[in-house]
Assembly symmetry: C2
Homo-oligomer: 460 residues x 2
Amino acid sequence: MRRTKIVHLIDAAHPVNDVLVKGWVRTRRDSKNFSFIELNDGSCLKNIQVVADAAIADYDNVKRLNTGAAVAVTGRLIPSQGSGQKWEIQAEGVTIIGAADEDYPLQKKRHSDEFLRSIAHLRPRTNKYGAAFRIRSTLAYAVHTFFRERGFTCIHSPIITGSDCEGAGEMFRVTTLDLNDIPKKEGKVDFSADFFGREASLTVSGQLEAEMFAMALGDVYTFGPTFRAENSNTSRHVAEFWMVEPEMAFCDLAGNMTLGQELIQFLTRYILDHAADDIDLFARFVDKGLRACLDGILSSEFVRLPYTEAVNILKTARRKFDHDPVYGKDLQSEHERYITEVHFKRPVIIYDYPMEIKPFYMRVNDDGRTVAAMDVLVPGIGEIIGGSQREERLDVLTARMDDMGLDRRDYWWYIDSRRYGSVPHSGFGMGFERVMMLMTGIRNIRDVLPFPRTPGSIEF
Amino acid sequence: MRRTKIVHLIDAAHPVNDVLVKGWVRTRRDSKNFSFIELNDGSCLKNIQVVADAAIADYDNVKRLNTGAAVAVTGRLIPSQGSGQKWEIQAEGVTIIGAADEDYPLQKKRHSDEFLRSIAHLRPRTNKYGAAFRIRSTLAYAVHTFFRERGFTCIHSPIITGSDCEGAGEMFRVTTLDLNDIPKKEGKVDFSADFFGREASLTVSGQLEAEMFAMALGDVYTFGPTFRAENSNTSRHVAEFWMVEPEMAFCDLAGNMTLGQELIQFLTRYILDHAADDIDLFARFVDKGLRACLDGILSSEFVRLPYTEAVNILKTARRKFDHDPVYGKDLQSEHERYITEVHFKRPVIIYDYPMEIKPFYMRVNDDGRTVAAMDVLVPGIGEIIGGSQREERLDVLTARMDDMGLDRRDYWWYIDSRRYGSVPHSGFGMGFERVMMLMTGIRNIRDVLPFPRTPGSIEF
């Protein structure tokens, strides 16, 4: 008999005489003449209820089943006699595939997120984390679907890089040198002996490479892991995370903002349509305000607010901030959240930031003081997207690089793209974990990644 | 006026009075009263032909257009008067967006793949590489679609890892230690000062982590970058490549083989259906046998052949191999290609390999000498998939680890999964670049990756 996944039985249209299900026991409770087994196979949030009559030949097996055990059940799918479920399986055969030791940590009770992090290899077996990782998968597919429907080409930008997009201090070094015996030349590391013959790091962004492809294929995006070696232990920081980075030729900052809004609204709509049960768990048990938040995103036109006005709003706010808002400084997380959660109560796109606080590749505005940067802020999260129109003018770009002390020779290929058919183009980076946090109400980034990497923590 | 992508004009149903296209000039040729511009915007392989009458006001701009320049053209889409295309644009306005310097390397002539590798930031602007990277994107989407349709959950397995799946010699080290001044303790590197507090590397496979999720969610897969620090400069090796790794609970080796065949056939069907023009370029100019090869994959039942029989076939082959086929040794690439290309002339799955040449996690067969491993071989490529049923029995697994000198403490979480509801499960790894090579006929792996990483080479 062919195994049926539980997701296909939960909403069955009619009874089935012969079914085979395989899964893991969530709970078992016995009455006088029956055992009730809640079985889950990960295909959906819901368990199927198995009713085993004490008269069946395999009843000895049933009595040995404890939480966590793997089991195969054959029987009939019939309308449930109990409340709480439409169907149940009347067991005919019950085979233990793999028992669970008595010390199985996921016994039926609430476990703290901290504890579950320490058993990240088992936590997807819980309702909450199973739901979270099914949602993550659906959101990832939604990202690809959004871009594909709009004619974007997916680019696998390199992970190991010789470039430094935003500042070498925060990058992981990649090497095959023997750390016990580093080869040196004139007192310095001799990278000629290293795998790539020079210093190599883990990428912090695929943007510069994506720009090269945008100037060939038009609309492109990357979706892959990126890295920051920041030594900060907060609920918002991990060393390894996934980023979505679209890049569009012939697109200005306004078009970039439009794409950002459309993407976030598309993902929200998609996840409500395609993961309703799993989202419902988070709306009920994790964040009571989740539905209102997601509905707000769907129904709002995102506010577009120049940075200067944002600073004015913050300065006149009846709110004491830990950091005083000052024109010419980056907005703090508390500032961003005030603007989107308190002042506007909906998503806000702040744009035209002071040149001094932004990287060399952002396009200088006509005022000569600001750049065509934009950040999308959403309630509950703060910044979820950061992007810009890129500087397409060769002379302005190279002057800016010189001003910032960057060596043009390190970027010869990037500069090249401005010498041959350079065009206005724009793009942004969206932190995928931030999207996960927005959609689930989970507030610690460690809990939306399968095996999070943080300072001092690389288990599993 | 809103810009229209060329892909939407090439097969237009009727003439359009007002169109705006933006793209890059591939060629321009002038006759007495006209200029003909071949314009490409990367949205498809085909160019749109722009006809500019010498009488238009912007004709001075037209005369300045050279290969590689970016341009905006307004005009009317009309049936083409020339042969070779259905539609052309009768230009009314021509604006130069970005000129191309005279030394633009992609002038109209054939360039060698070697040369184009040295300008990997520009090569997607050629027909061949534009097509290759559109195909890559479509194939990536097809991978996700295949698994999603079958109820698999996509898992983002970690890139930085403390585990060693197949042998530390081939792994890149990841560190934030100052290489100029490595902290030491008793003469050895003091990793307690490193970011993760211990040695860390780039992953060679997400399998072990995917197994943990398969035992929670049932069917899962990973699709992400993996790394090998092998110092080999061949047309088949790169340091960074993408791998697809499904993992299925309640699945044996036969089911694993079936999935492998279904996946490869699905991808072949998908790419023929969704990237016909781009595939056609490769079938015409890169590999004359491409269509026959892809048709063969679609129409064949893959041969299933025990390793022992494979060795016998090789031993009796009327063919001199560089390496003599010997029972108990891994098959060489020349062996694999003989079996799939010469002997069977279709895809072949070899299974049940000698235990000694396979990793600890593969399930030991009842004969006690072989493991439930399988490799899928396809003509032109050789091995494209390698997988196995995993050892689910705690006692067999730990005995095998002991035999191989692995420290159980390093794999405590992996072993844990065999203590709590362990189930038969299977999975495989499919090299995504190998799939690209199969579908395009490209025979150097460097030419199917946007920016390949090889020994001594990390430009861009």
